[in-house]
Subunit: 370 residues, 2 copies
DNA sequence: TTGAAAGCGCTAACAG
DNA sequence: CTGTTAGCGCTTTCAA
């Protein structure tokens, strides 16, 4: 390309650019066609974009009068900063990610409420992703939620593959685990309930106050920690009262209504004496209740029944379910709190265990409450 | 500043820059300190960043061998594109926003499940925001969710201020309303149930099959559309059967358990004959049930009770609640579908009404089901 | 089929 | 107190 053509191209480009700028000016008359940028605000306020940025973000000193003009321009133009541009420049997304396997069960609603409230209070937005089905990586080999679109993540139970957890940990991406302990060697903050203590108190009550000895247990799915610790509480209580642990009294309930029903049917078919059934969670307890009724057994007269979590439904069952109240919402909020601390200061509590509380209702044989 | 100092500054800057580049090189040995960028991938693959972009996004032709090398580099570097940068350049966020007033009630869980599934299936991420409390604009005068961080939004019921709705509409921001009709003059797509028809069928059944005539109605909160249409169905049915609408039989229930309880207490205090109570939703029905029991009345022997929605709890009540099943999850999924269509093609169904289904249980006086 | 380069809108030094 | 400017990491013409 010779000197001439270069010159030509340059002129041509410049013209096009002028055309473009004009067009943009015209279009911008129609607010709906082009969003105002920080530049527009700066122009209208007669300041530089840096000043606009300072005013908006409250970073650095700006004369009051100037600030006022900027706010005026912002209002007039209906300006709203472009999150992506902001994120690109400041290296933060302002999003907190939540990974969970699926949205289901009674547990979910209060948990999400806590998490949402927490993110909002801390000025973050909440990005949610379920790993059920699609879960895995996309063609690109990365997950829908990660370092590319969030400043940190809350990982619920086993929703995330351990390899991914390790990868994120290694790149020092802030993560808080909710209701799950970290994989071996990963020093990640972890928030949960006092599952073991709650179960312990529950079973203690069943034994000491209600006088039951043959207490069946319906654990949740393999590998779910809450269930593991509840079982530990159950065993501890038995041991403390000199009652032998009897494997025949334990059938996996699966933390779901149907599986609870199946488990109890199976349990009953063993024809062994049973005083009470401790279902690993309330959903399982509902299934258990159905199975017991199907078998013509009365609760609590023939067999007592207790659960764990105190979901909304529990008090409405017939009979109302004795259970352990788990501060689900609070745990969600706490997880966000720890995560925000981790993001902002690099520090967080290694382990947060929220207290649980015994809720006595009729299903365990207690007299009706007022 | 003279020639000399300018030169000096320039040299100084250059040195600093070299230092910086070196440092970056060193740091990048530790994968956790610096994420790979498209440039790193390009370098490793021996191509330009444009090519990497083409490969990753499958836009434009790239020689197979080249593509393979790029994918190799991607894998090796564990590269994952920076969402903000992408968004800035391509003018899309890949997020779909969901605005709701608060996370509560039984309605919420299935709805969110549907929405989440929908967004995921369409390759979007889900950003959730509750307008309860903080709801309003921040200091900047804009909402947490909007054109700056989402490609489109689903607005649930009345979670968003009408002015904001108008503003977004005017700037042609894609919005689908869930369970709410658009404000006057705004031509926004809208997804809901056949509330009116469902209520009509329910009340028809109460009158024709069960022979009730004095049927009370507990509407939801003022301005909630679902409730409005349910009331229309109720009135239509009465009229069709030649029964006069009696205002004394209508007390606002508020779509919540406690208010339902209060409403029924008030209703009973009027000392008028009542055959049945049609609660605007199942939550209200639960409150109604409590109030009836408190008053020593049997359901359905003394007064029949029906609700609307068929939340999970309804079948577990004593007696099990007759209600209308609303396809909550499906509505959420459908809303996303319409929104994605609106985003991608600018077109969407103006109105989508999903069918409802009568669910007969004991509370209306029907014999026990098998 | 590939590369060069111009931004996208904003933040954050730095200079004044 | 305010302005200038260099990127942030990526997409997207335009040329080659």
């Amino acid at each position: 390309m010779n000197e001439y053509s270069l010159r030509y191209v340059s002129v041509y480009r410049k013209r096009l650019h002028i055309l473009y700028v004009n067009l943009k000016g015209i279009m911008s008359q129609f607010a709906e066609f082009s969003r105002a940028t920080i530049g527009d605000v700066a122009e209208k306020a007669g300041v530089s974009i840096a000043t606009v940025s300072r005013v908006i973000n409250k970073t650095g000193q700006v004369a009051e009068a100037t600030a006022a003009r900027v706010w005026g321009a912002v209002a007039e133009l209906n300006y709203s900063p472009h999150a992506a541009a902001r994120g690109l420049a400041s290296r933060r997304t302002n999003n907190i990610g939540l990974v969970m396997r699926e949205i289901s069960g009674e547990f979910f609603s209060p948990m999400l409420r806590g998490i949402e409230a927490g993110t909002r209070e801390n000025g973050y937005d909440l990005l949610i992703h379920c790993t059920y089905q699609s879960g895995d990586a996309n063609q690109l080999g990365h997950y829908a939620l990660g370092e590319h679109n969030a400043d940190g993540m809350i990982v619920f139970v086993d929703s995330l593959d351990e390899n991914e957890l390790v990868r994120l940990y290694q790149m020092q991406f802030p993560i808080v685990l909710l209701h799950r302990t970290p994989p071996e060697g990963l020093d990640m903050p972890h928030v949960s309930f006092e599952n073991k203590l709650g179960a312990r108190k529950l079973v203690d009550y069943l034994i000491e106050v209600r006088g039951y000895k043959r207490i069946a247990f319906l654990p949740g799915p393999e590998g779910v920690e809450d269930s593991y610790w509840r079982e530990m509480g159950y065993r501890d209580s038995l041991k403390a009262h000199g009652i032998a642990y009897d494997p025949a009294l334990v059938v996996t309930g699966g933390f779901d209504e149907y599986q609870g029903q199946v488990a109890v049917a199976q349990l009953l078919s063993r024809n062994i004496p049973i005083d009470a059934i401790f279902a690993g969670d309330d959903d399982t307890a509902i299934g258990a209740l159905i199975a017991l009724k199907d078998a013509g057994l009365r609760v609590p007269e023939d067999i007592a029944l207790v659960g764990f979590d105190d979901i909304r439904l529990s008090r409405y069952l017939t009979p109302p379910l004795t259970t352990v109240r788990a501060p689900i919402e609070q745990a969600g909020r706490e997880a966000v709190k720890q995560l925000v601390s981790l993001i902002q200061s690099g520090r967080a509590e290694k382990l947060t265990l929220l207290p649980t509380e015994l809720v006595i209702r009729r299903s365990c044989g207690a007299p009706e409450q007022a």
